[in-house]
């Protein structure tokens, strides 16, 4: 399969087409809207399903195989802000607090992008390590903490209130809704193993791809509403939101190979590295770096990097992995 076949397979998949449909709905100002409870229900389902499946996979593979690439994933997440911050600060001329906030978002990860990537790998019959969900779980928080610390150091009016807001960010990053569900379901899956999976498979596995397609329709709506802000963020951030994911994606794939992952697992680590958070990171940053401008970090992660990865990035990282692996 050539890269263009792989790309076409992605662009013509129900998941991506429903995402585009959502974008269209937002751009044509249709009154289509998912109620909050439906959004919450879909999110809970997707996180629990992916977490549970990952846990069962860990149970079967054994922790021995999982710990090294997990550690690498965590390190990568924590390090990404260290070069994106100066790039934004001095290359992009962003205020320190904005640079730190954006850096935190790009070090952290997007669960939906990861889920869409597993979906894609399944569609092109590329096997992957199911326990890769563990990398998703450990990569969400570290970059947020690093980003917050960078932002605090830069604004440098440290004090008591600063420590509380750092603690709040830490609590949000470690115990927030999404990370809790993901890690919790992972542990439940690891405890249940295959026997538990047999019971819940018709709910958590069989309809998964369809639910994801429906959810991406909603995410298209959400991302589409941000497209209007593209004009406000300037060309630097636009380029940043496409080039950095590509670089981080390659870095992630390479690190995956280095730590012994197969072709599929390395692709997923690339996807994680390249993706930017738009749920967990904004929540934590809003609380601990309130002076950072949400238009920058939300538009970059939600309206640039997220659609780019869904449509083009994912097949690209797979192509990179295929090229790297003998």
């Amino acid at each position: 399969m050539t890269f263009f076949d792989a790309l076409a397979a992605n662009l013509l998949s129900p998941a991506v087409l429903f995402f585009v449909l959502g974008l269209v709905a937002a751009l044509t100002k249709s009154d289509l809207k998912f109620p909050e409870a439906l959004y919450a229900g879909l999110t809970i389902y997707l996180l629990v399903a992916i977490g549970f499946k990952g846990g069962v996979a860990i149970n079967e593979a054994g922790l021995g195989k999982v710990w090294l690439p997990s550690l690498a994933a965590m390190a990568l997440g924590a390090l990404i802000p260290l070069w994106t911050y100066p790039l934004l600060r001095f290359g992009g001329k962003f205020a320190a607090v904005d640079a730190a906030a954006i850096a935190a978002h790009y070090g952290s990860v997007s669960a939906v992008t990861f889920i869409a990537a597993t979906n894609y790998l399944k569609a092109v019959d590329q096997p992957y390590e199911n326990y890769a969900t563990a990398f998703l779980a450990v990569m969400e928080s570290p970059a947020i903490l690093v980003g917050v610390v960078l932002g605090k150091l830069a604004t440098s009016k440290r004090g008591a209130s600063d420590m509380t807001s750092l603690k709040a960010a830490m609590h949000e990053a470690l115990f927030g809704r999404s990370i809790f569900l993901l890690v919790g379901a992972l542990v439940v899956g690891a405890l249940c193993g295959k026997r538990g999976m047999d019971k819940v498979e018709p709910f958590f596995v069989a309809p998964f791809q369809g639910v994801l397609a429906l959810f991406l329709l909603e995410m298209g709506l959400v991302a589409g509403r941000r497209l209007g802000d593209l004009r406000k963020v300037g060309p630097f951030l636009l380029a940043f939101g496409i080039v950095m994911p590509l670089l981080h994606g390659c870095l992630g794939v390479w690190l995956g190979q280095l730590t012994g992952l197969g072709l599929g697992g390395a692709t997923l680590l690339g996807v994680l590295a390249s993706s930017a958070s738009y749920i967990a990171a904004p929540a934590a940053i809003r609380m601990s770096l309130p002076d950072a401008n949400p238009t920058y970090y939300l538009t970059a992660s939600l309206a640039i990097t997220f659609p780019f990865n869904i449509a083009l990035g994912i097949p690209a990282y797979l192509a990179v992995a295929r090229w790297l692996y003998p």
Binding site: F34, E36, R225, I279, R286, M287, P290
Partner: protein
């Protein structure tokens, strides 16, 4: 029926501010509060009620006048610079003044 004059303070803000606001209410001495999920439009743009993390809330709290004063003070000083938010006060008459 015997009613007693009190202040009703209403706060409309982004959902991210939720914990900070309810903590503040406790600190200044409120004995309760009521919270509404809302949609809104304002200087910081439209807030739809779809993603919980990007949503809007309204909090209403009944207070003794001096407590209301303290609450508005704190809101104006600490919260307005940080959060997308409006706040206003009005006069109400409650049953059972002892509760507030």
């Amino acid at each position: 029926m015997n009613t007693h004059p009190m202040k009703l303070v209403t706060i409309v803000c982004e959902a991210h501010a939720r914990d900070a606001v309810t903590r503040l209410l406790r600190e200044v001495g409120a004995h309760g509060w009521t919270l509404f999920p809302v949609e809104g439009d304002g200087s910081q743009g439209r807030r739809l009620a779809d993603i919980p993390e990007y949503a809007n809330i309204q909090v209403e709290v009944i207070l003794k006048p001096e407590v209301a004063e303290r609450l508005l003070e704190r809101l104006g000083g600490d919260f307005f610079p940080r959060y997308a938010m409006i706040a206003f006060e009005s006069d109400v008459r409650v049953l059972r003044a002892g509760k507030f």
